[in-house]
Symmetry: C2
């Protein structure tokens, strides 16, 4: 058991739907595009989720290629998520607000044999923390609502 | 049915575990901290997930406060996720690589009655696309491995 905890804070910006977040010294602004009610000052949270997903897979690939005997000259991943806005914008019953599905395409530049690269793809998916979290969900505990007067 | 699709591309950087991602014109660099094998040039993907989660809740709160009759003077959310690195670093059987649980605390500055704010908290959770995706998981389809020679 080697427990680690990650933390972040997300704060409503001035006006509109802008959100400023911080995590261990790094900042990011998120917003919605204009067609979803924002002013397009940053990626939106669902795009943030895709970026985290693709980045996690790339990191697993980069971290483990050598140990898995894979020649890794380049690696990039296209991610795509589909959603029905009737869920979150309109609250229509039976329509989930979240992603209905997520797709990804892995591009590997490598001289390793094709079969070995397919095995490595499976390895990457099985070890990737974000893939596991998105595929299987996680327990979400809302400990507290703090009302500031 | 109002289908929308979000897309991103994540590309391995030069050396180390750095990843450069793009989504509709916005860029973000992710990396791992030094104790997880990186050079700490950006938040890591699990922190990216938390930031997306907190930002999504803030956006739902900001977007719907007025329609829900809530006085919203300020809103910020602390998020925290726990993980056992034996899963993704060592591949120990029975240890999931992803988040074991996620916690969050909502801070609302408001003059609305307490009971109404607790209702609003439930509303935010029920409508938030990232909360739903993390809590219930989603279908992940790995369509393709493209081998670039």
């Amino acid at each position: 058991m080697a427990a680690v905890t990650f933390k972040a804070v997300s704060h409503k910006g001035k006006g509109g739907l802008i959100v400023e977040s911080q995590t261990h010294g790094f900042k990011i602004v998120m917003d919605e595009p204009e067609n979803l009610g924002g002013t397009n000052q940053g990626m939106n949270p669902l795009e943030g989720l895709l970026v985290s997903f693709g980045s996690c897979l790339v990191i697993v690939g980069a971290a483990f290629a050598k140990a898995q005997g894979i020649d890794l000259q380049d690696l990039w991943i296209e991610t795509e998520g589909n959603l029905d806005t009737d869920g979150f914008l309109r609250g229509i019953e039976g329509v989930r607000p979240g992603f209905q599905d997520v797709h990804f395409t892995i591009h590997i530049k490598s001289n390793s044999p094709e079969a070995k690269l397919h095995e490595f793809q499976k390895f990457m998916e099985s070890r990737c923390p974000v893939t596991d979290t998105l595929r299987n969900g996680t327990r979400i505990n809302a400990n507290t609502l703090v009302i500031e007067r």
